[in-house]
Amino acid sequence: MTTLTFAHAHSQVHWPAHWRDFVALTKPRVMTLVVFTGLCGLLAAPGAIHPVLAFTAILSIALGAGAAAALNQWYEADIDARMKRTANRPLPAGRMDRQSALHFGVGLSFFSVLLLGMATNWFAAAVLAVSILFYVLVYTIWLKPRTPQNIVIGGAAGAFPPVIGWAAVTGDVSALPVALFMLIFFWTPPHFWALALFVRPDYAAAGIPMLPVVSGEVATRRQIWLYTAIMAVAALAPVLLNLTGLVYGTVALIGTAVFAVLAFQVYRNHELDPARMRPERRLFKYSILYLFILFGAIVADRWMLA
């Protein structure tokens, strides 16, 4: 059996990339949460949308997220090559040339925005365009290599999907989608810094100024705890502002209490060896489940109120 040996990321790749590598470029696993929060924004919105147009809206959000991920990997190919977690991605592993990734990312960006605009409305399409540009230009190119606050501001890019889903139905933005945006915005730092703590050597090797690399573990754990408190306010805001009912309120209260307990365990932890950072891994895994549960509860609540 013949095996093709590909050149390293820094040299020219002449083989046509496998179609599976284009799929990998869109980070399908990360997309799950984006699609789910976008779908919840769409389902929680007042008014009706044709199922085909709803499907197209979610497809556009997924394609837009995939396009942003592809452009992120196009720009960070050299950095990804230095990190164990990302070294096997299509570009650093040398299975695809950078120009293909760039063309794919730009093409998919335009396509996703045009598709959403034609199927639903141009306001939703504009928000999708802003979210892609924000992720690529503000987060990937500007903030990530420069400041440990990169994911605090850059986290806004991941907070757009429920707003886009909502806007696809209503054509505008009101208080609830803004509250959902704030929830993801303040959820991102504890979620990402929990991960950054146990993959710190990777970020340090790649020269990315993530908070644990720049300020150390103690400061990061304190910041996780601080942002968890702010996130708790954002999580309870929809029910406090009377935008949702008690179903969401109860789920948010219990879910956030568990989040706070796990974040407190991280705050109290003094472990410096990433391999033994169990509370951090627990918080990271739970934080994903937390967002799924809260967004599911929002939809259930809105439907019950309706």
Binding site: T2, W15, P16, L53, T56
Partner: protein, 45 residues
């Protein structure tokens, strides 16, 4: 390029062409469905 490598590249090109064809067919169906949905939505108003 050795014959084996060329064979592998051709196989890869073929699989990409098939995936592209499937995607194009899916887009045709999607755009048709969007058109019908838009027309029925505008009639509903």
């Amino acid at each position: 390029m050795t014959p084996d490598e060329e064979k592998l590249v051709r196989a890869r090109q073929k699989s990409r062409a098939i995936v592209t064809a499937v995607l194009l067919a899916a887009l045709v169906v999607l755009f048709y469905a969007i058109t019908i949905a838009k027309i029925s939505s505008s009639h509903a108003i």
